[in-house]
Structures are given as structure tokens and as C-alpha cells.
């Protein structure tokens, strides 16, 4: 029985010696497990060590301490030859695509199997199969310089997949692309994950990417994993400050204080924020409270979206009614298990 764990980091540290005296600890006691078939996101600011971490998986970087496993093999103990073999099972794509400018698209895609025992025709056949998969068969005999960024990344994906790898490492694969192209590449990656069952590791600094396709995430801050878990629980209940900051980048619920100042609250009005914190059935809260407590509820900002089929986000609303009605409403809302209620007081939500 194959274990469902594909990649495992055990107490991994990585130190770069910058010169004889100084050294720089880029990864600090990293522990993580990537399950087969999952889409695993690694998020962090520039310089956090994301690239270093992902490169430990295929042995381009060697851990200074600790162990990195790919299936049952300890990557940092493999011989050069064994490492090259294992790299056949680990595809990788980059922010800068890294296509060979002097080779045609077909030659680029064929490069990983150029020195294999496969014949020319078999190679061409596989190349075309991969180009079909990424939707670019007609570009086979052109050169990379004639492609757009999104098309280049598709070719890079085709090249990374030609060896039928078990895992695809994506280092900021969409960071050089516009939002629309990013979406189409993410869609393609998702399709590959679903159709081929290939495990994906996505390194990014954009929370939107994580929100769009990841199953699990690890948040990296200055070489340390500060938080990891499944995407929904992290989105609804982030613990670390950095995670919160990243999540805020994808939420429209963060009403700026300048906007709040423009809302003139009169007596008997209360500004509140409701956020979903669990995936229990969504109930029409606004209509329930307005009927039940005869209160007016004006929505100032609303941002509710579905994340993997579960509600995420919330509403900023002004409750308008007698003090008693407002108190009852708040009590009712606080009794709801799937939402969190914050009340605006002294210039912030508490």
C-alpha cells in the first residue's frame, strides 16, 4: 500500500553562508506534510524562503538540517544519479517560464525525454499529447519569442508533465501574468489535478491564488511556518497576524476608517460586522432579524463567497431600532454558531 503522504519535511533548516563569518538561516525548523492528490499552497512575503523550501523537494537546494522525504526516499541523502531519476517524477515551473529561446516549442517540451530511450516518433507523439493537454498544439513548431506569457507558461507546464510526474512544483507560476491569464493558468492547473490526480505545490505571495485553488496552505514568515491547515479553516479562523493580513487582501469587508467616518450614525443606530466562521448551513440572517426583532438592517458592505462549497466572508451592516431591539438582535446573532459578530465602538470593531 502506497502511503498517501507524498512529501514530508521533518525539522528542516537551511542556512546560507553569505561569507566566512555571516550566515543566513532561511528556513527554520520547517515541518510539513503534503498528501497525494492535494493542491498545497505556500504563501509568504518576498524573501520568506518560499523558493528555497520548494526547491528542497527536488533537491536543487539541500537542507542543512532535518529531513526531506519524497515518498519513502530521503531527498538530501540521494546520490546525484538517484536525484536525477527522482526529478523525472517531480515537475517544476517558474515565474519566468524558463523556456529555451533557441528551441522550438516542441523541442522545449521534448527536452526532459530527449536523452531517454524513446524513439523520435514516440517523443513527437508524447509532445503533441502534452501540447493538446495545455491547449497549444498549433504552436509546436514556433519559437518561444512568438508566445504570450500565458502561452509560455502553458508550454512550461507541458514540459514539466511530459515525464508523467507525481507532483508539480509551481514557484510563483502566475506572478508574471495579468489577472485574467492567471485565472486561465489556475484553471488549467486545477484541471490537471482533477484529471491526472497530480499533486500540486503552489508557491505564491497572492492569497487570491490560494483562495482560488488550494486545498491546504502553509504560511511562511521569515523562514518559519507560522500556520498551516486546510484552506477553509484558515480563512475563517486565522490565528497568526501575517495570515490575517494575507486574508484581508482578498476580502472586501475591511471597511477603511475613512469610509466609516462618512457614515453618520444617529442615535439608535449600531454598526456591526458579521463574518462566517463555519460551514454550517447559511441562513437568511438579515430577513430573520428584521422580521423577528422588527429592526432595520442596512447593508453597508457585503462580501460573501463560496470557498470549496462553504460560505466565507460576511456583511457590515447598520442596525436601526430601539436600544432594546438592538440588544436583542445582537444576543440572537451571538447565539448563532456559524457567525461571528463584531460591534463598532470607539472607531473599531470589537
Amino acid at each position: 500500500m502506497a502511503s498517501p503522504e507524498l512529501v514530508k519535511f521533518q525539522h528542516v533548516s537551511k542556512v546560507f553562508k553569505t561569507n566566512k563569518k555571516k550566515s543566513h538561516e532561511v528556513l527554520k525548523d520547517v515541518n510539513l506534510t503534503i498528501q497525494k492528490g492535494k493542491i498545497f499552497g505556500i504563501i509568504g512575503y518576498s524573501g520568506a524562503g518560499k523558493s528555497t523550501l520548494i526547491r528542497c523537494i527536488n533537491g536543487i537546494e539541500k537542507a542543512t538540517q532535518g529531513k526531506v522525504f519524497f515518498e519513502d526516499k530521503e531527498v538530501n541523502k540521494l546520490s546525484k544519479k538517484a536525484l536525477r531519476q527522482i526529478r523525472g517524477q517531480i515537475g517544476m515551473i517558474f515565474q519566468q517560464f524558463n523556456l529555451m529561446p533557441a528551441r522550438t516549442i516542441a523541442e522545449n517540451v521534448a527536452l526532459p525525454i530527449k536523452y531517454s530511450s524513446l524513439g523520435k516518433e514516440k517523443i513527437r507523439e508524447k509532445v503533441m499529447e502534452m501540447l493538446e493537454l495545455v491547449g497549444l498544439p498549433e504552436k509546436a513548431d514556433t519559437y518561444p519569442s512568438s508566445l504570450s506569457g500565458g502561452q509560455k507558461q502553458r508550454v512550461a507546464i507541458a514540459r514539466a508533465l511530459i515525464n508523467n510526474p507525481k507532483i508539480l512544483l509551481c514557484d510563483e507560476a502566475t506572478s508574471a501574468l495579468d489577472p485574467q491569464t492567471t485565472q486561465s493558468i489556475l484553471k488549467l492547473l486545477k484541471k490537471l489535478n482533477e484529471r491526472l490526480g497530480i499533486t500540486l505545490v503552489l508557491v505564491t505571495h497572492e492569497m487570491q491564488v490560494v483562495e482560488d485553488i488550494c486545498d491546504e496552505i502553509a504560511v511562511l514568515n521569515k523562514g518559519k511556518i507560522v500556520e498551516q491547515g486546510d484552506v477553509y479553516s484558515i480563512f475563517v479562523n486565522p490565528q497568526d497576524q501575517l495570515t490575517k493580513r494575507f486574508i484581508n487582501t482578498t476580502s472586501k469587508l475591511n471597511v477603511s476608517s475613512s469610509l466609516l467616518k462618512t457614515i453618520n450614525l444617529v442615535r439608535n443606530q449600531q454598526l456591526i460586522k458579521i463574518t462566517y466562521i463555519s460551514d454550517e448551513a447559511v441562513v437568511p440572517l438579515i430577513s430573520i432579524i428584521s422580521i423577528k426583532f422588527k429592526i432595520k438592517a442596512n447593508i453597508i458592505v457585503g462580501d460573501i463567497k463560496m470557498l470549496r462549497g462553504k460560505p466565507l466572508g460576511g456583511l457590515v451592516i447598520v442596525l436601526d431600532g430601539e436600544a432594546e431591539q438592538i440588544a436583542d438582535t445582537l444576543k440572537y446573532l451571538r447565539g448563532q454558531k456559524n457567525v461571528q459578530v463584531e460591534v463598532y465602538q470607539d472607531g473599531r470593531f470589537l
Binding site: 536525477r84 517544476m92 517558474f94 524558463n98 533557441a102 526532459p112 536523452y115 519559437y143
Partner: protein
């Protein structure tokens, strides 16, 4: 035509056989030492790129030895180098004069410069491409062949052009010390016998030679750029 030529270049016309032989000698020197030093420089250039710190076959000792030798030979003026090499040239070529005697000093004179040129051409290869080669599991020599060399064809042909032009210059210098060729012709007839037309004729032939080299180089370089 012949009459016209004899009028413009009277001294060349009267020594036409010698002049033609000089052209052939120059071509022999350029082609033979060019090919050999190209192969040597390519080898040394590759070695110095792969063995440098952080290179795909990093090796401090090999790199340091190559680096120092190249610098040593580059610092010796060519005319002194020829003189210094005479005993070795005699052993290797059997003679230190004539075309045969020039090949060895020409190779030693041009290879260090050529190696540096090849090195800089190979170093233009984007690090991302090298990393990609490693990621897809290429061996170091597959990397050299399929990434470094393949991606540098255009730059290599550019630096080869530059080097060949320098080499043509060196063939004129070896002429002075008994090597024959156009340099020898220009000195013997043009300079020592005050036949200015001989010098001009040499210049014209050398100019044509350099132009041909440059046209071919540019053509290959363009062809290899996509």
C-alpha cells in the same frame, strides 16, 4: 584589366607569384590555427564556466589553474611570446619559420583571448535555463551540450568573428619573424623596398578577408537567433 592592375600596383604585378603565395599562407595560418584554437577555447571556456564557484561542476582547483594560466598568457605581448616559444615551436612543429612554424605560436597567442570570449558568451546563458536543465534531470554534460552550447550558438559565432579578426592581425605579426603571409609581404616589399603599392594591396586583401569573416559570422549569428 591586367594592364589597369599593373599600372595601379606595378610592384605587386611584378611579384604576383609571391603575392599570391602570401595570400595562401595567410589563409592557411588563419584556417589551421583558427580551427585548432576554436576547439581548444571551446573546451577551456566550457571547463572554466562549469567549474567556477556555484557552477554545475564547481571545482576550485581546476578553475584557479585555468584562470591563472589564461591570465598569464594574456599578459605577454604577442611578439615577445613568439620569441619565447621558439624552442617549443621547434620541438612541436619541427621548425620555427614558415607557415608550419607559425601555427603553434598563433594558437598559444589567440587561445587565451578566445577562451575568455567563449566564457563570456556561455555566461550570457540565463541562470534560470541552467536551473531548469537541472530540474528536468539532465546530466552535467547534457546540460553543457543542450543548454549552454545550444543556447549560445549566436553569441559563440559573434565572439568567434571578433577572435578571427584578431587572429588575422596576429598572422601579420608572425610574418615579421619569418612566418610568411601578407604581413611578411607588406614588410619586405612595401616597407623595406619602399614599394607603397604592395602595402596598399595587402591592406585591401586583409580588408576583404575581414569583411568575409564578419559577413559569415553575422549570418550564422542571425540564423541562430529566434
Amino acid at each position: 584589366m591586367d594592364a589597369f592592375f599593373s599600372k595601379l600596383f606595378p610592384n605587386v604585378a611584378s611579384n604576383l607569384d609571391v603575392f599570391n603565395a602570401a595570400i595562401i599562407q595567410t589563409l592557411q595560418m588563419v584556417v589551421i590555427s583558427g580551427i585548432i584554437s576554436f576547439l581548444l577555447s571551446l573546451t577551456f571556456g566550457i571547463l572554466i564556466v562549469v567549474t567556477k564557484g556555484g557552477g554545475i561542476l564547481a571545482n576550485k582547483i581546476v578553475w584557479n589553474v585555468l584562470d591563472k594560466i589564461i591570465n598569464l598568457f594574456r599578459s605577454i605581448p604577442f611578439i615577445i611570446l613568439i620569441a619565447a616559444l621558439i624552442p617549443v615551436t621547434r620541438i612541436i612543429s619541427g621548425t620555427a619559420i614558415g607557415v608550419k612554424g607559425t601555427i603553434f605560436p598563433l594558437i598559444i597567442g589567440i587561445t587565451p583571448f578566445f577562451t575568455r570570449q567563449i566564457e563570456s558568451a556561455l555566461n550570457e546563458t540565463d541562470d534560470g535555463l541552467i536551473e531548469t536543465g537541472e530540474v528536468i534531470g539532465l546530466t552535467p554534460w547534457q546540460l553543457v551540450w543542450s543548454v549552454y552550447l545550444h543556447e549560445s550558438i549566436s553569441s559563440i559565432s559573434r565572439v568567434t568573428t571578433i577572435t578571427l579578426v584578431s587572429l588575422i592581425g596576429l598572422t601579420a605579426i608572425v610574418g615579421v619573424v619569418g612566418g610568411g603571409g601578407l604581413g611578411d609581404f607588406a614588410i619586405q616589399y612595401g616597407y623595406q623596398q619602399n614599394q607603397f603599392d604592395a602595402t596598399i594591396a595587402c591592406i585591401i586583401v586583409l580588408l576583404i578577408l575581414v569583411s568575409i569573416v564578419q559577413i559569415i559570422g553575422t549570418f550564422i549569428s542571425k540564423k541562430a537567433t529566434h
